[in-house]
Symmetry: C2
Subunit: 224 residues, 2 copies
């Protein structure tokens, strides 16, 4: 039931396109599983190599280091969300409906969408929640930004801000709201799971329902 999209990313992110070979796809697949299981800090290329019966050296032929692998994964996620938004809002012209669909994508894209064989979107979403911000909180941001390593996020922000401006052309902070809705969705899912005192949503509630309702409330109120 997999869809036939191939997400193509800035080729500075990798040394060799991992989506085009068996080993490359195995690297993507299992790095997602391992980072989700054990966290980014304890994840190493050596452990990954062991797990997929390959070698450190082979993995290094695809990715310069684990930070760039994370950047690759996170960019993949950003683009995948963008893609879903495009597809799912294609038939709707009402920007308010579009924004609802966008928010739904932020909160639960990974749950109700078929995916690519070698990517577990739900676990990738977990990685984005837990480790995503590390991709752009590094001393090398400016250099990496100039090389286009955050383009997918900026594109996503741009397309959401367009919808926001459609809803309310006078709203002065469309980009801020766009990124805030994304980061807020992620943060509060994470908080609900690990630091519940920092949020108002409990994980008990009908799963993603509470988050979606909350983020929609914020968006609606701000754009009223």
């Amino acid at each position: 039931m997999s869809i036939e999209i191939k997400i193509s990313l800035n080729d500075g992110l990798y040394l060799k396109e991992p989506q085009d070979s068996k080993l490359g796809r195995k690297i993507i697949n299992h790095s997602i599983l391992m980072i989700d299981e054990c966290g980014f800090e304890t994840f190493t290329f050596k452990k990954l190599a062991l797990r997929i019966n390959s070698t450190e050296a082979s993995i290094y032929r695809y990715f310069e280091n684990k930070h760039l692998l994370l950047l690759f994964l996170v960019n993949w996620y950003w683009q995948w969300v963008s893609y879903l938004i495009t597809v799912n809002t294609r038939n709707d012209n009402d920007p308010k409906v579009k924004l609802k669909i966008i928010i739904q994508s932020f909160v639960s894209a990974s749950l109700d969408n078929p995916g690519v064989e070698y990517v577990n979107e739900s676990k990738l979403h977990n990685i984005v929640l837990s480790e995503g911000m590390k991709a752009y909180h590094t001393k090398d941001v400016d250099n990496e930004n100039s090389r286009g390593f955050f383009k997918s996020y900026k594109d996503l922000a741009r397309s959401v801000s367009d919808v926001i401006s459609e809803i309310n052309p006078d709203f002065e902070y469309p980009f801020t709201l766009a990124t805030n809705l994304f980061e807020m969705s992620n943060n509060h899912i994470y908080f609900a799971r690990h630091l519940p005192k920092l949020t108002d949503i409990t994980v008990r509630e009908n799963k993603e329902d509470g988050f979606e309702k909350m983020v929609n409330y914020f968006a609606d109120k701000l754009l009223a």
Copy 2:
């Protein structure tokens, strides 16, 4: 012109209270400067030891590892902001005014407040912007949370949410808004500096003015 406060933190964060000795204060002082200069990832106890003419072993007597040092610094910041909010809102009963002061503290507490000799609050704020979220995005969050390592942040969120509920008792998401205002302030200062396409504020503008105005706009609109 230093004020006579000593911020006391959860004693699980350190092996030996660094604020009580010369070497300990030097560790705090210079770790802030070094992390601000070179980023958290490249920062090591060895480099710090070299810089302060001490040894790795001595630093390890104060902090278990660099992650706990970061946690210490970030907690210090959270408590310091809490303290400033308490002091600066003491004479105001209007919760709307209080929230304005809170937001001002989030955005520019480090600029217009005298501090503690061994803490450069402005650089510490930079660290919080760039590395702060790493303090609670770790595989060990749940354990660390149970040991009270995020209490300062939760206390801060709590006190802000109280003000929010004072302004609008019917507002359903006081904690969410409290943390969001804090994280939003930090994120968008960082974005303006490094990823300007993700925000609407430019750093050119009269410094913190633009940020404060924006965050206040969000808060006002949501609580209206």
